[in-house]
Assembly symmetry: C2
Homo-oligomer: 340 residues x 2
């Protein structure tokens, strides 16, 4: 345990906030990012936890990024909210859009949130969980940088474009899945490269379009979608929703604007639906109880688990037990707080 360090979740938040604030992030941007990072550590999603602070700070090497941006919320239609992120990061923009999205979904039955000009390097489940905790079903879509080839193609064009979905539960955190359109996260390939290990067949193709198990060749080539052309269709859908629909960049356009920081500029699209407005009797309790019957049927089969089960299991422990992070990561973050 000498190479790792114990932190409470409060310490995680303070460390994240201070590292960002010391690097020119406004208090509002830093706090929103620290919330997201802390939520990830709480759920033991390490790759989206404190590890990611360096990505945010590094993104400032792109002169277009504004760590003090104040997002602007407006209405585009009775059921459509707009947030202009003003070239800041996603967490604050998403937080500011959530309440009007929820309000509109309740009033109209279904509503959308269109975000522009944000740098999104977090998971999508935090924004969906926030909406679903208000009793709504919800979707989120965002593009990324071009790492995947279109179906039948060989050159990168689509991002690893995640699609996320949330369903509200009674007396339980929402069911949420948040899945990339690619077979695997890019970081997994990078870890194989670092460790000198081959990657499984099916993860990627090389620049020649042929399947490869060499991580270096894979990173120069293109990642593959999950489920072949079906996953590629989902990646295409995400490009259209988070790009053309909300009037923002496709992954390949985000790449053209990136200065090598790996933080893509772009849009995000969310949908929120009020179950109580989708049935004639308006009995939302009955709908949620019905859903629980399905979830119970799943649980009756040995070996199953729900998409968010693992995160929620972690969440039961970490608020009291805290978490551990690598000592080297802690040193990096502490150095950030002194570097301002």
């Amino acid at each position: 345990m000498n190479d790792s360090l114990h932190l409470t979740l409060e310490e995680v938040h303070a460390l994240a906030f201070e590292a960002l604030a010391a690097n020119g992030f406004s208090a509002a941007q830093a706090r929103a990012i620290a919330d997201t990072v802390t939520a990830a550590e709480r759920d033991l999603c390490t790759s989206h936890g404190l590890f990611r602070i360096a990505f945010y700070v590094n993104a400032l090497n792109n002169p277009d990024v504004d760590p003090t941006a104040v997002p602007v919320v407006s209405e585009l239609a009775p059921a459509v909210v707009h947030v202009d992120g003003r070239f800041g990061f996603a967490p604050l923009a998403l937080e500011m859009g959530a309440a009007p999205l929820v309000e509109k979904a309740r009033a109209q039955g279904i509503a959308a949130l269109c975000l522009n000009n944000i740098y999104h390097i977090a998971a999508l489940w935090p924004e969906l969980e926030r909406v679903a905790e208000q009793g709504l079903a919800a979707f989120a879509f965002t593009a990324a940088l071009p790492y995947m080839a279109p179906a039948g193609g060989t050159r990168p064009l689509y991002g690893t474009n995640p699609m996320a979905f949330a369903w509200p539960r009674k007396d339980h955190p929402p069911l949420v899945f948040d899945q990339a359109s690619s077979v695997t996260a890019r970081g997994e390939i990078q870890i194989h490269l670092r460790d000198g290990k081959p990657i499984p067949v099916g993860w990627a193709i090389g620049p020649d379009g042929e399947p490869t198990t060499d991580p270096e060749t894979a990173l120069k080539g293109a990642q593959l979608p999950f489920g072949g052309h079906k996953g590629a269709a989902i990646a295409l859908m995400v490009e259209l929703l988070a790009g053309a629909l909300v009037g923002d960049l496709f992954s390949y356009e985000a790449a053209a604007k990136d200065t090598g920081t790996g933080a893509p500029l772009g849009g995000e699209f969310l949908i929120a639906i009020d179950p109580g407005r989708c049935v004639r009797d308006g009995d939302r309790e009955k709908q949620l109880a019905h859903a629980e019957q399905l979830l119970q049927k799943i649980g009756e089969q040995e070996g199953t688990r729900l998409p968010s089960d693992r995160r929620y299991a972690a969440r039961k422990r970490t608020p009291t037990e805290g978490i551990r992070i690598p000592r080297t990561l802690h040193q990096t973050l502490v150095a950030y707080t002194r570097e301002s």
Copy 2:
């Protein structure tokens, strides 16, 4: 060519309509189904063409099915339309819901269509194409009968639950994908059984939960989702949307109500979004032109094609050239028209 027969699309429609009308379908139900079946033949989607008329007629062996049902349209919320299919078939209910859905999406920016009490044994692309032709992006979700196991499980619970998406195009039919959550259609396994051929590894597991290449064992076991747990998550999402959200049956509940006809009773959920209401300048032309840039980039890569390309290529020929159907199928349909 002696075992096949040439038909114009007009003849396809008339044959479908007459076979249904002679079996007790109302003119409205028969015409709506014939439209869907003809659209499938036009696009050379043979499995959803005239071949399917027997499924509709066979469904009448279930006494709950009403082939003369008159769907009832109502409003559940400013952005939510409801159609009660009254235990008739999906095509007429979907047709009647389309105009109010489009109207609401234009007025509110985004809108939903919740359908109940329909028997859905068609593809989803016809209903999405109708909405996207009005310039809207759209989703559709429907459950089926329990043929797939949940992630990690071994017993059937989810349907092969399709999710479909459409994007409007200028001077071109919409881009549409309509894909089951399973690796392959159930019919493909049945065809392998008929032909005495093994199925590929990865399509299904047997009742013992082990991978199988025997089609008979596969049909007794469970089909597998595309992309492993990611496809299973999509199947779960579809159950929640077309079941709990719209207050209708899950796939396993539909099975309990099916009398062996294979036509599942249940719900469907559609979302329509007006791109012009999702951007500040309201310039929909610019959005569609932007999307075309992405589609062009895809086309620049050799070997690619868009999800609906094959159907649209067929559609250019069949209205003048007509289509061919097996003579045995024609005989079956002609017999139907005399059986009333």
